[in-house]
């Protein structure tokens, strides 16, 4: 019974990481790629670490696994936001199907590169 639970958690975690990679490869835009990879990979690694905590079942291993999950949940949004902000300020072109750009016009004219202002 315990092995079945661990196997389900492992398959779910690996599947989420695989779908995150599929989204990184297939999405048309860096911001869509980020929105795929950050959430799905966080959930995937969280499920894998939960499987590890269930498998060992000791206090020290489980607490370290929980601490790692907390660290990843805290740091992945920071890294994703930083990548998206830098990419936007550096003038990465948006997907042509984008319908909302709420950051537009909110920066000083010199802050965003010429390509962004021209659009």
């Amino acid at each position: 019974m315990k092995e079945i639970i661990i196997s389900a958690l492992l398959v779910g975690g690996a599947g989420f990481i695989f779908f995150a990679a599929l989204g990184v490869l297939r999405m048309p835009d860096i911001f869509l790629r980020l929105s795929c990879t950050s959430k799905a990979s966080t959930l995937g690694i969280g499920l894998l670490l939960t499987a590890l905590a269930v498998h060992f079942g000791e206090l020290d291993v489980s607490s370290r696994a929980l601490a790692t999950i907390g660290f990843i949940i805290l740091t992945t949004p920071v890294a994703s936001h930083r990548i998206a902000r830098v990419a936007y300020l550096d003038g990465v072109p948006l997907w042509e199907g984008t319908i909302a750009d709420e950051m537009r016009g909110r920066y000083a004219p010199g802050a965003v590169t010429a390509q962004r202002n021209k659009e």
Partner: protein
């Protein structure tokens, strides 16, 4: 027994496929930020491989390696974005 079968035939191939797909994006990505996204995903998939290896081998010490790997990946993403902010991407 079922755990060994599942990890050998499902979990490790899925994580390896994720590595391959992210590596294709790492090679192709038009902007430097795309490569950073792919690198971040490669780091997460590698941490997942280390965690699954800890389960299959029974050595819980590998969890420390995975957590330190996650710390290093986060810091390198911050460093890469800092350099793009300073110098501009390609």
């Amino acid at each position: 027994m079922i755990l060994r079968t599942v990890t050998s035939f499902v979990v490790f191939p899925l994580l390896a496929g994720a590595l391959v797909l992210a590596f294709v994006r790492l090679l192709r990505g038009p902007h430097l930020a795309d490569r950073i996204v792919a690198f971040d995903l490669i780091a997460v998939a590698s941490a997942g491989i280390i965690v699954v290896s800890a389960i299959t081998s029974g050595h819980s010490v590998l969890l420390d390696a995975a957590s330190i790997w996650a710390v290093i990946a986060f810091l390198s993403v911050i460093a890469f974005t800092w350099y793009i902010e300073r110098k501009g991407g390609i």
